[in-house]
């Protein structure tokens, strides 16, 4: 490289590539303005509170109130436990059924696969307001079709006004949410199943692995990364959930706070409800705790699980 002929042009000087910055700028500005700055502002707000009518830095005092004051702590832990149950029901009902549906859909002999795929995915596209409203009507003891349908098969005695009972209400709301969002795990897994090369399946068949054992031994290990992604999406979605509970059970998440999750607790605290005035500092504190919970969950997944997952390359 050193003895280049003198006549040779000097190495082409690359122009400064301004366009990269220009293209990135809009996204950067918008993302900062509506995601990063408010997030930082929320974190900051959680360290402030109104003292003698003026905002003042109070350090961790808001967190002390949230975890130290018996009533605040009671509300918070109640919401967290409900949220964990909400998440557990999604993991135990929505995701396994989603995987099973995807497995069924990907069987080559299934007729009307496109119809099923669309029908099952459709509720995901509906607004949560519509979903909340129709399920409230379906389950209504007065006008609902649920009691009538159950009476047709002689199980009317099993029907109860679930949404109004403090035990079953949370389960009912979770199952409504499952019904709505089951299309997402189904589609992701379906795509993962389709991407398994035929050679692998053929090789398995040559070795005599067919049917269910083929699913368990060949397909499932290959779609595990997709299941991991679904789990983490469910986790983030559930701990940010608010809309469905709000539309079905109201901001007080009745009966007797049995469906109160972190999202509704945050809403009531931050914005206030009826005669209760909003408290931004405590609201920001709860929002921060929620952020930390989600951050911890995602980090755990990224560092402890995803790294150990075996990936197969074809």
């Amino acid at each position: 490289m050193t003895d280049l002929p003198a006549t040779h042009e000097p190495a082409i000087k690359r122009p400064v590539r301004w366009h990269i910055g220009v293209f990135l700028l809009p996204a950067f500005i918008i993302y900062s303005a509506i995601m990063v700055l408010p997030l930082i502002e929320t974190l900051r707000l959680s360290f402030y509170n109104t003292v003698d009518g003026a905002p003042a830095f109070v350090g961790l005092a808001n967190y002390q109130v949230l975890f130290g004051d018996a009533r605040w702590a009671h509300d918070f832990w109640n919401a967290l436990v409900n949220n964990l149950i909400f998440f557990a029901i999604h993991m135990c009902v929505q995701n396994p059924i989603g995987v099973a549906l995807a497995a069924l859909l990907s069987t080559p002999k299934l007729r009307f696969a496109a119809f099923y795929r669309t029908a099952i995915f459709l509720p995901t596209l509906l607004s949560f307001v519509i979903v909340g409203f129709i399920w409230k009507l379906i389950l209504s003891p007065i006008w609902g079709v649920a009691p009538w349908l159950m009476s047709l098969v002689g199980t009317k005695w099993l029907f109860a006004p679930w949404l109004g009972q403090s035990g079953p209400a949370l389960i009912a709301v979770s199952l409504i949410s499952n019904w709505q969002y089951i299309g997402i795990p189904m589609m992701l897994i379906y795509a993962a199943l389709l991407s398994i090369p035929d050679e692998v399946i053929e090789a398995a068949e040559m070795d005599g692995i067919t049917g269910w054992s083929q699913f368990w031994k060949i397909k499932l290990p290959l779609i595990l990364p997709a299941i991991g992604i679904i789990s983490i999406l469910t986790f983030v979605g559930n701990f940010n959930a608010f809309d469905l509970v709000y539309t079905v059970q109201g901001a007080l998440a009745g009966p007797d706070m049995s469906t109160d999750i972190l999202g509704t607790l945050l809403y009531r605290t931050f914005f206030g409800f009826q005669l209760q005035l909003g408290d931004r500092s405590m609201g920001a504190t709860i929002a921060t705790v929620m952020f930390l919970i989600i951050l911890a969950g995602v980090s755990f997944y990224l560092f402890a699980i995803q790294r150990r997952m075996r990936r197969y390359q074809f």
């Binding site: 109004g164 009972q165 007080l252 005035l277």
Partner: protein, 418 residues
């Protein structure tokens, strides 16, 4: 979660600016939670005002009731709220006045048209300053299906015993659900239940003041007995009342499937337009015949002035008009069930509304016990009362436990002035 908050804040600012003025006329934007009244404002009230005040236009822009307080506070803080603010009674509005977001209206012409009791809901604790023009109050009671009562031969109950006898009779007959009330939305149980029948037990203002002064507690019999009575309503409610919402109850009654509806007078307009049968109303039954009865005659709506409004003079003109007998007349007749607080009596055409308002002569009025001062802290007594009233009817808590829980919550922040 921050995404939801941001979305809401953003939506509220966009909505607020949607009704900006465009002409040379001054346009006053009215913030309200009464989206049910949109037609009445647009067809009756706004034309009546604009005809007399050329150059001032009104824009009525309501928000959903449950979101009103939150969105109004956000808009006021951001400086994007309308000129005229519809005021919730007591602390919610007082808080805005203390933050200097509502202007002082003590000297507004027309304020003299209101009694101190009417102004109390929008005055400072000492009554020295008033910041909203009282607009309307609502009265609690029971609306009943007259046809059903005639068919079953039931006369209007006056005492609690007669009330239960009537309920038993309706239940035994089986045609009607005795009481149209559910606990799903919680506030029905608290507002139409507890605050409706309660004043007869705690003797209206006497008990309410004693509670604020700390002389009575929510664990005292005056405050627990209404819960015991509520718990007795359970067998008279419809099947699956735990999941029955407010609109379910309204429909059950207006469709003629239920005989008695624990009501607020705001239902009158809707019920009159929907029900195909004759209706009557009776006040909350007293404990013993001949006793003084108490009713909840609760100031519900006022109108105030955004202190940061650019059109103070025009807004005051409008508010003075709201305080006039002319407004009271149009409003009370357009919305039977929202009773004017104006000292000048208003003639109302609706018979059901007349029935409700006639109780003002023989019953002592009071306001809802949880509204003044007692819902200032956390936990919020009003919200807790919603939860506990529903719990008592559902049987989740006994009346005694409910009283204890509420008092414990109140004690945690409220120290009555000694």
């Amino acid at each position: 979660m921050t995404r939801i908050i941001k979305g809401m804040l953003f939506a509220s600012t966009v909505l607020a600016s949607a009704g900006m003025a465009h002409a040379a006329d001054v346009t006053l934007t009215i913030e309200s939670w009464r989206n049910d009244d949109l037609a009445i404002w647009q067809e009756k009230l706004i034309p009546a005002f604009e005809a007399k005040n050329p150059g001032i236009k009104l824009n009525f822009s309501p928000t959903a009731p449950t979101e009103y307080n939150a969105s109004l506070n956000a808009k006021l803080d951001a400086g994007s709220a309308g000129d005229i603010i519809t005021c919730r009674p007591f602390d919610a509005a007082l808080e805005l006045f203390n933050k200097k977001q509502l202007a002082d209206l003590t000297s507004l012409s027309g304020m003299a048209n209101f009694s101190p009791v009417a102004k109390a809901a929008w005055s400072t604790d000492d009554g020295a300053k008033t910041f909203c023009v009282p607009m309307a109050s609502v009265i609690h009671g029971f609306i009943y299906n007259k046809d059903a009562f005639d068919k079953l031969g039931i006369s209007v109950p006056k005492t609690v015993d007669q009330f239960h006898a009537a309920l038993d009779k309706i239940k035994a007959d089986g045609t009607y659900i005795p009481l149209a009330m559910g606990t799903k939305d919680l506030w029905e149980a608290a507002t139409m239940g507890y605050q409706n029948i309660g004043p007869n037990y705690w003797k209206g203002e006497e008990g309410r003041k004693a509670l604020i002064e700390g002389k009575q507690k929510l664990t005292d019999p005056e405050w627990v007995k209404p819960y015991e009575e509520l718990a007795k309503w359970k067998p008279y409610l419809g099947d699956g009342f735990e999941a029955q919402t407010y609109s379910d109850s309204q429909n059950l009654f207006t469709l003629g499937r239920a005989a008695i509806y624990p009501a607020g007078s705001w239902e009158i307009a809707l019920f009159t337009s929907q029900a195909q049968f004759k209706m009557g109303a009776f006040p909350p039954p007293v404990l013993k015949a001949g006793e003084t009865g108490y009713i909840s005659d609760h100031p519900d709506i006022g109108v105030g002035l955004n202190a940061k409004s650019a059109h103070q003079e025009e807004a005051k003109k409008f508010l003075a008009w709201v305080a006039s007998p002319e407004f009271a007349d149009i409003y009370a007749n357009a919305l039977p069930g929202f009773f004017s607080l104006n000292s000048t009596p208003v003639k109302m055409a609706d018979p059901l509304a007349q029935e409700f308002v006639s109780w003002r002569d023989s019953f002592k009025p009071t306001v809802r016990s949880t509204y003044q001062i007692l819902s200032r802290g956390k936990p919020n007594l009003e919200n807790e009362t919603w939860v506990e009233s529903a719990n008592v009817i559902n049987g989740t808590d006994t009346p005694k436990v409910a009283g204890e829980k509420l008092q414990k919550g109140l004690d945690s922040w409220y120290k009555p002035a000694k």
